[in-house]
C-alpha cells in the first residue's frame, strides 16, 4: 500500500500523461530540424553557440598575433583590431556563454532533472532557437557587409559607437543592434519555458529543496536574465533610434569630422547605466549555472553529498538578488556622481560573502571525499582555482580607489577573463565530458580529455596570469600597438609575445576536443545509462539517449534529495532520487 499516498495529491502531475499532450514529430524535418523536443533544441543551441564561439576564438588569435608581434602582420590594421575586440567580446559573452548555459544545458537538463516529459511550451521553445539562429546569422553577416562589423567595443558606448571614424559605422552597428534585439526576443521565449517548467512541471516528490543545484543555478540565472535583458533591449532600441532617426537619447551635441552633428543634449551616461544594469547581472547569468553545474560535478565525482546544500541554495538566490544593485562598479571612471561609487563598492564587496560561502562549500565537499580524478572532476577543480583567482582580483577592482588607476588596463582584461571567461568555460567543458554519455550513449575518450584539460588549464594560466602584471605596469587594454612608451619596459613586449604563442597553442588544443566529440560519437566506448553512478533523475531514464517524452510510460517519483552518495549502510555508494525508501525504514516511519 506504499503507493496510496501519491494518489489524489492536488497539483502534482499524474504519473501517466495523456498521449495527446505530448507533441509527436511526424517527419524527419520535424524530428531533427524543426523539432519541439527540448533535447534536440538543446543540441541545436549548443552546436550553433560552439560554431559562432569558434569564430570568436579565431578573432582572439588574430588579436594576439597583433599584440604579440606588432607590425609583423600586414593584414591586421587598427580598425580591424577594434572590430576583432568587439566581436570577440560580444560573441563570447552573449552568443556563446549565455546561449550555451541557458539554451543548451537549460534545455537538455531542466526537463530531465525535474522529471518532466518536455518543456511546458515546446512550440515557443522551438521558436526561441530559430530566432537565436537568426540573431547569430545577422551578427555573422556583419563580417561581409561594407565597412565590416562594428568596432565600438563590446559595450557599444555612444557617442563613439555611432559616429563616423568608428569602424562599421554604416552597417556594422545597425546589424549588431538588430542582432541583439533578436537575441533578446528569442531568449525571452526560451526563458519563459525554463522558468515555468521548473515552477510547474516538476514530478511528484520533486520539492524545491530536492532539486539538483544545476537546476537551481539555471533557474535563478534565467529569472535574472529575463529581468536584465530588457535593459539591453531598451538601450539597443534607443541607440538604434539615435543612429537611424537622428534622435538624441544618448547623443550630445558634438563636432563630427569638423561639422556640428545634428544631435544635441543626449546623455551618454544614461546608456552606460542601462547597459550595465544588464551587463552586471549578465556576469552572474553566466556564473550561476556554472556554480550549479560544478556543485553537481564535484559531488558526483567525489562520491560525497554536497556540503551545505541549503546554504548553497540561499547563496544562489542571494547572489541573484544582489547582482542587480552593483552595476555602477563598471562606471567608477565614467564621470557619474562620485559618491555613488562608494555605495556600489559596498554592495560589490557584500556579494563576495555568498560567493565565498559557495567556494568554501565546494572545498568542504571535496574534504575527505572519495575523489575520482575523472576529466569532469579535473575541469571542476580547475574551475574552483580559476574562479577564486578571478574573484580575488574582483575585490581589487570593486574598490574605487584601486579601480581608478587600474581601469582600462590589462589587469581588467586578466580579471574578467579569469572570472567569467576561463572559469565558466572550465565548467562548460567539464559538463560536456560529464553529460556527453547521456546525450550520445558513448563516453568521450579519456586520454584526449586529459590532454585537453591540462593544456587548457595550464595554458589559461600562462595567458592570463602575466596579464595582471602587464596591467600593473600600466599597459592599456584596447590599444592596437604600444610603440615606444617610456613607462612600458621592453620585457613587457617579450611577455606579450609569450602570451600570444601560448594562446595559439591553447586554441589549437580545443581542436583536439572537437575531434574527440566527433570521434567518440562513432568510436567511443558504450557508456550505459549511468556511467558515473549518479543520483539525479537524468541518469535514471529508461533509455540512453533519452527517448522523446523522456520517461517511458510513467513519470518518475522522487523520494529523496539529489546527493545521496556514500550513505552509510546502503548497498551501493549512491541512491538514485527515484529509489523508494527501504521497507524497514517505512515501517519505522509508520510506527513513530
Amino acid at each position: 500500500m506504499v503507493d496510496v499516498p501519491y494518489e489524489g495529491i492536488p497539483g502534482i502531475p499524474p504519473a501517466e500523461v495523456p498521449d495527446v499532450e505530448l507533441y509527436h514529430p511526424r517527419s524527419w524535418w520535424t524530428r531533427y530540424v524543426f523539432s519541439q523536443d527540448a533535447k534536440v533544441i538543446a543540441i541545436q543551441y549548443s552546436l550553433t553557440a560552439t560554431a559562432i564561439g569558434l569564430v570568436a576564438l579565431v578573432l582572439s588569435w588574430l588579436m594576439r598575433l597583433q599584440l604579440g608581434f606588432p607590425g609583423t602582420f600586414s593584414f591586421i590594421d587598427a580598425n580591424q583590431y577594434l572590430q576583432f575586440i568587439t566581436m570577440h567580446g560580444m560573441i563570447m559573452v552573449i552568443y556563446l556563454l549565455t546561449a550555451l548555459f541557458l539554451g543548451g544545458f537549460g534545455n537538455y537538463l531542466i526537463p530531465l532533472m525535474v522529471g518532466a516529459r518536455d518543456m511546458v511550451f515546446p512550440y515557443v521553445n522551438m521558436l526561441s532557437y530559430w530566432i537565436y539562429l537568426l540573431a547569430v546569422l545577422v551578427l555573422a553577416s556583419t563580417f561581409f557587409v561594407p565597412g565590416g562589423p562594428t568596432g565600438a567595443g563590446w559595450t557599444l558606448y555612444p557617442p563613439q559607437a555611432i559616429l563616423s571614424g568608428t569602424p562599421g559605422q554604416d552597417w556594422g552597428i545597425l546589424l549588431m543592434l538588430a542582432s541583439l534585439i533578436l537575441f533578446i526576443i528569442g531568449f525571452t521565449m526560451g526563458g519563459l519555458n525554463y522558468v515555468v517548467t521548473v515552477l510547474q512541471a516538476r514530478t511528484r516528490g520533486m520539492t524545491l529543496m530536492r532539486l539538483p543545484l544545476t537546476v537551481w543555478g539555471i533557474f535563478t540565472a534565467t529569472v535574472m536574465a529575463l529581468l536584465a535583458f530588457p535593459a539591453l533591449f531598451v538601450a539597443s532600441v534607443m541607440l538604434l533610434f539615435d543612429r537611424l532617426l537622428g534622435t538624441s537619447f544618448f547623443m550630445p551635441a558634438l563636432l563630427e569630422m569638423g561639422t556640428l552633428s545634428k544631435h544635441g543634449g543626449g546623455s551618454p551616461l544614461l546608456f552606460q547605466h542601462l547597459f550595465w544594469f544588464f551587463g552586471h547581472p549578465e556576469v552572474y547569468i553566466v556564473a550561476l549555472p556554472a556554480f550549479g553545474i560544478v556543485s553537481d560535478l564535484i559531488s558526483t565525482h567525489a562520491r560525497k553529498n554536497i556540503f551545505g546544500y541549503r546554504m548553497m541554495v540561499w547563496a544562489i538566490v542571494a547572489i541573484g538578488a544582489l547582482s542587480f544593485i552593483v552595476w555602477a562598479h563598471h562606471m567608477y571612471v565614467s564621470g557619474m556622481f562620485p559618491q555613488f561609487g562608494y555605495f556600489f563598492a559596498t554592495t560589490t564587496l557584500i556579494i563576495a560573502i555568498p560567493t565565498a560561502i559557495k567556494v568554501y562549500n565546494w572545498v568542504l565537499t571535496l574534504w575527505r571525499g572519495d575523489i575520482h580524478l575523472t576529466v569532469p572532476m579535473l575541469f571542476a577543480l580547475g574551475f574552483i582555482v580559476t574562479f577564486v583567482n578571478g574573484g580575488l582580483t574582483g575585490l581589487f577592482l570593486g574598490n574605487v580607489v584601486v579601480d581608478v588607476p587600474l581601469s582600462d588596463t590589462m589587469f581588467v582584461v586578466a580579471h574578467f577573463h579569469m572570472v567569467m571567461g576561463v572559469a565558466p568555460i572550465m565548467v562548460v567543458l567539464g559538463a560536456i565530458y560529464h553529460w556527453y554519455p547521456k546525450v550520445t550513449g558513448r563516453m568521450l575518450n579519456e586520454a584526449m580529455g586529459k590532454f585537453h584539460f591540462w593544456v587548457t588549464f595550464l595554458g589559461a594560466y600562462l595567458i592570463f596570469f602575466p596579464m595582471h602584471y602587464l596591467g600593473l605596469l600600466g599597459v592599456p587594454r584596447r590599444y592596437f600597438e604600444l610603440l615606444d612608451t617610456t613607462f612600458i619596459p621592453s620585457s613587457a613586449h617579450s611577455l606579450n609575445a609569450f602570451i600570444s604563442v601560448v594562446a595559439l597553442i591553447v586554441g589549437f588544443s580545443q581542436m583536439v576536443f572537437l575531434f574527440n566529440l566527433v570521434w567518440s560519437l562513432f568510436k567511443g566506448e558504450a557508456s550505459g545509462g549511468n556511467p558515473w553512478r549518479a543520483t539525479t533523475l537524468e541518469w535514471q531514464t529508461p533509455e540512453t539517449p533519452p527517448a522523446h517524452g523522456n520517461w517511458g510510460k510513467e513519470l518518475p517519483v522522487v523520494y529523496r534529495w539529489a546527493y545521496d552518495y556514500s550513505v552509510p549502510g546502503a548497498a551501493e555508494d549512491f541512491i538514485p532520487q527515484n529509489q523508494p525508501p527501504r521497507a524497514t525504514q517505512l515501517v519505522q516511519g509508520a510506527a513513530s
Partner: protein, 234 residues
C-alpha cells in the same frame, strides 16, 4: 534608475514571499520518503500558460519601467520641451478602456458558459483594440503634420518610442486574441477556451494599465510626482 530598482524590490518581495512558502529551511538530507510526507514545495497547481503569462508580464513591466527610467533621467536635461499631447489620445484611451471592458465581459460570459457572449466580447474587444491602434497612428500623423517630428526634441522621441512599443505589445496580443476567436468560431468547447479568454483579458488589463501610466507621463501629469520622488531619493 530608481523606478526599476523599486520595481525589482516589489518583485523581490513577491518572490521572497513565495519562497518562504517553499520550506527553504528544510533539511532535505533527512527527508527521505514519499511525496506527500513533506507538504510544501510541490509544483504550482496553476496551468502553465497562466504562470507563463505572469512571468511574461513581469518581463514586459521591467521593459516599460526601464523606458520610464530612461525618460525620467533624460527629461532633466535642459533641452527638454514638453510635447503638446493631441486631444485624440483621450478618445484613444476611452477606446482602450472599452476594449478591456469587452474582454472582461467575455471572460465573465465564459464563466457562465455563454458562448455567444464570449464571441461578442472577443470581437468587440478586438475591434476596439484595432481602432485604438488606428487612433494612435492618426495621432502620430497629426503630430507630424504640426511639425513635431521624432528627432526634433527628446520628448517627441520618447512619445513616438513609447507609443510604438505599447502598440507593438497590443499587436502581439491581437494575434493571441485572433487565435482564440478563431478557435471559438470553429466551435471549440467553451470549457477548453475559458483559460485562453481569461489570459487575453488579463493581458488587456495589463496593457491598459501600462497605457494609463504612459499617458500620465507623456501629458506631464506625473511630473510633480516624479519631482517628489527625485527629492525623496536625493
Amino acid at each position: 534608475m530608481s523606478a526599476i530598482i523599486l520595481f525589482l524590490a516589489v518583485l523581490a518581495v513577491i518572490a521572497g514571499w513565495w519562497l518562504s512558502q517553499q520550506r527553504l529551511t528544510a533539511k532535505p538530507w533527512l527527508e527521505e520518503g514519499p511525496a506527500g510526507d513533506f507538504p510544501g514545495g510541490d509544483a504550482i497547481t496553476w496551468p502553465a500558460a497562466k504562470i507563463g503569462l505572469g512571468v511574461f508580464l513581469a518581463v514586459a513591466s521591467a521593459l516599460f519601467i526601464l523606458f520610464i527610467s530612461a525618460y525620467s533621467m533624460r527629461m532633466s536635461v535642459v533641452d527638454w520641451r514638453p510635447l503638446p499631447v493631441p486631444r485624440l489620445l483621450w478618445v484613444n484611451t476611452g477606446v482602450l478602456v472599452l476594449s478591456s471592458v469587452a474582454l472582461q465581459w467575455s471572460y465573465v460570459a465564459a464563466r457562465r458558459h455563454d458562448t455567444e457572449g464570449v464571441m461578442i466580447g472577443l470581437l468587440a474587444g478586438g475591434a476596439s483594440a484595432v481602432i485604438f491602434l488606428a487612433g494612435q497612428l492618426l495621432a502620430w500623423q497629426r503630430l507630424g503634420a504640426a511639425g513635431y517630428f521624432v528627432a526634433s526634441n527628446p520628448s517627441n522621441s520618447f512619445f513616438y518610442l513609447l507609443t510604438a512599443v505599447h502598440g507593438l505589445h497590443l499587436t502581439g496580443g491581437l494575434v493571441a486574441l485572433g487565435r482564440t476567436s478563431a478557435k471559438m468560431w470553429r466551435g471549440a468547447e467553451i470549457a477548453d477556451m475559458r483559460l485562453s479568454v481569461e489570459l487575453c483579458a488579463i493581458y488587456w488589463h495589463f496593457l491598459l494599465l501600462v497605457w494609463l501610466v504612459l499617458l500620465g507621463l507623456l501629458t506631464g501629469w506625473t511630473d510633480d510626482f516624479i519631482d517628489i520622488c527625485r527629492q525623496l531619493l536625493s
